[in-house]
């Protein structure tokens, strides 16, 4: 059975605590699974005593992948609805549009899934996921250790602070390790995947690492298979492709040849917290809500928020106290994470989740092929330094 709150089974009746979230549902891709899961968890929480008797009023808004709308919605949640905390945010455009606004409004965001660089370089924005760059470098690490790759090509979208950011990491690491590496930036809107793949294959690399939305990854793989490259080159990808539907969609041609990074634990893992997540989804979510890595992220964000709020005097929950509580989060443990999650008080940026696993496409499913390994991202130096100084793991 799902476990949340005080597990008293008594619905919370007090004055609601307003928590907001902005998600990118309508548009090139659907990121709303994160907030769906968070919603499920908060419902579960409210059914079990809530925050010391006060239910959480969880307001989710869809920014439709439009920064302007994202900004409007942030104004709505923070200024009009007076949210004390933002939890489970997962949007491609929101970080860039709102990071400064959140800072101005002195509100903290425990985000679910962050993608562009802004999400990991903002003072008030702390995602539970690792982010495309850390994730891609996780994959790169695997390529180095397990696949013994000698040459690598990185394919990313030509979107500022996404593609270049990630691929720069790959290049940098490749330099350090003495590999030959090459970056290909593509317009995610292009209809011509084949040429991109041919371009990547031209330099005869051992591995190609993709850092693209799954909607673009699948056609690229299709084109690669058409060209017979699935046999000759290993394809790796950031966690964005770690979606239950992908192995089935790309088909048997990729069994053992498409390996993705996982920001969280195996979706079917039998570990207690992962099971609790699934139980919460079954009891409080919709049947139709996908049980995917986004959902894990949202669930974790909700639990972190719960942990933080529980430390407060219910009579005195406001933006300051809530923020202080979240800042205080340290060593938050869950078997869905590889390593404990922390906020990182005083840090100008937050990237607590930087230890990841890998899985391979096999017979229409994902099969985990590696244990947790810290991502060899050179850019994480400051994070690692802080972790050491703060005595975290």
């Amino acid at each position: 059975a799902a476990s949340c709150g005080d597990n008293s089974g008594k619905p919370a009746t007090g004055e609601p605590i307003v928590v907001g979230a902005i998600t990118g549902k309508t548009g090139p891709d659907d990121f709303s699974n994160s907030t769906k899961a968070a919603k499920a968890y908060f419902d579960c929480l409210n059914a079990n005593g809530g925050i010391k008797g006060r239910p959480v009023k969880y307001l989710v808004e869809d920014d439709q992948w439009n920064p302007e709308i994202a900004a409007q919605l942030a104004a709505k949640l923070v200024n009009d609805e007076k949210a004390v905390l933002m939890v489970g945010n997962s949007s491609f455009v929101e970080c860039g549009a709102n990071a400064d606004f959140y800072k101005k409004s002195a509100i903290l965001v425990v985000a679910g899934v962050g993608v562009p660089r802004e999400c990991f370089f903002a003072a008030n924005y702390a995602p539970t996921n690792a982010g495309p760059r850390v994730s891609m470098l996780g994959a790169m690490g695997y390529a180095l250790d397990q696949l013994k790759a000698k040459s690598v090509v990185c394919i990313g979208p030509n979107i500022p602070n996404v593609g270049t950011w990630s691929c720069d990491g790959i290049i940098q690491l490749a330099k350090e390790k003495g590999l030959t590496a090459e970056t290909i930036l593509m317009d995610p809107g292009t209809a011509d995947s084949t040429s991109t793949i041919l371009q990547a294959a031209a330099s005869k690399p051992d591995v190609i690492i993709l850092g693209l939305p799954k909607g673009v990854t699948v056609p690229l793989l299709t084109a690669a298979e058409e060209q017979g490259l699935n046999q000759s080159i290993k394809f790796l990808s950031a966690a964005s492709a770690y979606d239950l539907s992908v192995p089935g969609t790309i088909g048997a041609g990729w069994d053992g040849n498409f390996i993705v990074n996982m920001e969280f634990n195996d979706l079917e893992a039998t570990t207690p917290d992962n099971q609790n997540w699934l139980a919460v989804m079954d009891q409080y979510g919709q049947k139709s809500d996908p049980r995917d890595t986004f959902a894990q992220a949202g669930y974790l964000a909700a639990r972190i928020a719960e942990t933080a709020l529980m430390t407060l005097d219910p009579a005195n929950v406001n933006r300051e106290t809530a923020s202080a509580a979240v800042r205080g989060i340290k060593g938050f443990k869950s078997d869905i994470f590889c390593a404990p999650w922390y906020f990182g008080d005083g840090q100008t940026r937050h990237n607590a989740n930087s230890t990841t696993r890998m899985a391979v496409s096999e017979a229409g499913k994902w099969k985990v092929v590696s244990d947790c390994a810290p991502s060899p991202d050179p850019e994480l130096k400051d994070i690692r330094a802080f972790e050491k100084s703060a005595g975290i793991n």
């Binding site: 309508t26 302007e68 923070v78 200024n79 549009a97 370089f121």
Partner: protein
């Protein structure tokens, strides 16, 4: 394109110079009323939506000149909004001048680009011209989604990499939400005034001749190329100002928001709003930003919203050839005549 009485009415008074100022007076008065209502009623969310709406109505006014006056269709207007926004941000972050300076710079750059966009089109007409401009919008989409908008970083593109993104400072006199909204309304009023004056005066007459037929215009001594170019430049200017004001609203812009489809949408809603009355632009602006905001606020699914938009768009096109503004004007006209008849009795 059947042009309806009320347009004409406005044009008609173009000649009798004494009525000209009175005609123009409607613009600031109406905008002021609208602004007052919004300020009194709106919360943060609505204020932000209304600000975008008013800003965008400027770009629609530009479209209205091209389409309503010259019968020329530009499907790259939203791209020009982007250009204006880009230039505003670029100048703003590079030299930190007063907001007005960056804004004006944005307007001028967009107007220059609009002219450049217009030049190949000067000899084209109708759907063909429309599609050529759509190509421009398509090209811009690719470029801007790759470049993004300046946010205080170094170099020509001015991209800060993630950390240290800067927001464009709002005008000193209008830093707060409400103040900035009023600021935008004032700017819009001025822009709409300029557009309206053009319609009522000499350029309006020349444009009407060009719409009738270029040989006719030439035979009446109109320099067709100059007047067309002028229209493109003016329309570009208005679009640019709109872009600058948008940039000021959020403090930054995002490349993904300026796709070619947006330009199509802008034109469609311009028609729905009505290109033959100056306030059609205001209505179109609201349709572009306030209506979606309303649907979002009601928590309606994004896709459903898109669908509703589709249905509404067609309904408006089919039932109101002169757009909502045209119908309002018709209503007003009928009321007036009714009143005067009442007085007569």
């Amino acid at each position: 394109m059947s042009v309806q009485p009320q347009t004409i009415a406005s044009n008609a008074e173009g000649l009798s110079t004494m009525r000209l100022p009175k005609q123009l007076l409607h613009v600031p008065v109406t905008t002021a009323l609208f602004a007052a209502v919004v300020v009194l009623l709106a919360n943060s969310f609505w204020l932000s939506a209304a600000t975008s709406a008013v800003a965008l109505s400027l770009s629609v006014a530009g479209l209205a000149i091209l389409y309503g006056q010259l019968g020329l269709v530009s499907l790259c207007q939203f791209a020009l909004v982007g250009v204006g926004g880009w230039a505003t941000l670029r100048i703003g972050h590079a030299f930190h001048p007063p907001f007005e300076v960056s804004l004006l710079a944005g307007g001028i750059v967009a107007s220059a680009v609009g002219l450049a966009f217009g030049v190949p089109a000067l000899r084209l007409r109708g759907l063909y011209l429309a599609l050529v401009t759509l190509m421009l919008a398509g090209g811009f989409q690719i470029i801007i989604s790759a470049w993004g908008f300046p946010d205080g970083g170094p170099g020509f593109l001015g991209r800060a990499d993630g950390s240290g993104r800067e927001m464009l400072a709002r005008p000193v006199i209008a830093d707060g939400e409400v103040a900035y909204f009023l600021y935008v309304c004032a700017a819009a009023a001025i822009g709409l005034l300029i557009a309206q004056w053009h319609k009522l005066a000499r350029p309006g007459r020349a444009w009407a001749l060009i719409r009738k037929g270029e040989t006719v215009a030439v035979a009446s001594g109109v320099n067709v190329l100059i007047y067309k170019a002028w229209a493109f430049a003016l329309s570009g200017l208005l679009a640019g100002l709109a872009g600058g004001l948008l940039a000021g609203n959020v403090g930054q812009l995002d490349g993904r928001a300026f796709g070619a489809f947006e330009s199509l949408n802008l034109f469609a809603l311009a028609i729905v709003g009505g290109v033959f009355n100056w306030y059609g632009a205001l209505i179109a602006g609201l349709l572009l930003r306030a209506v979606p905001a309303l649907l979002t606020d009601l928590g309606i699914d994004g896709y459903i919203t898109i669908g509703i938009f589709g249905v509404a768009l067609f309904h408006a096109l089919a039932t109101a050839p002169t757009g909502i503004a045209g119908q309002i004007a018709g209503l007003i006209a009928r009321l007036n005549s009714g009143l005067s008849r009442g007085r007569a009795r």
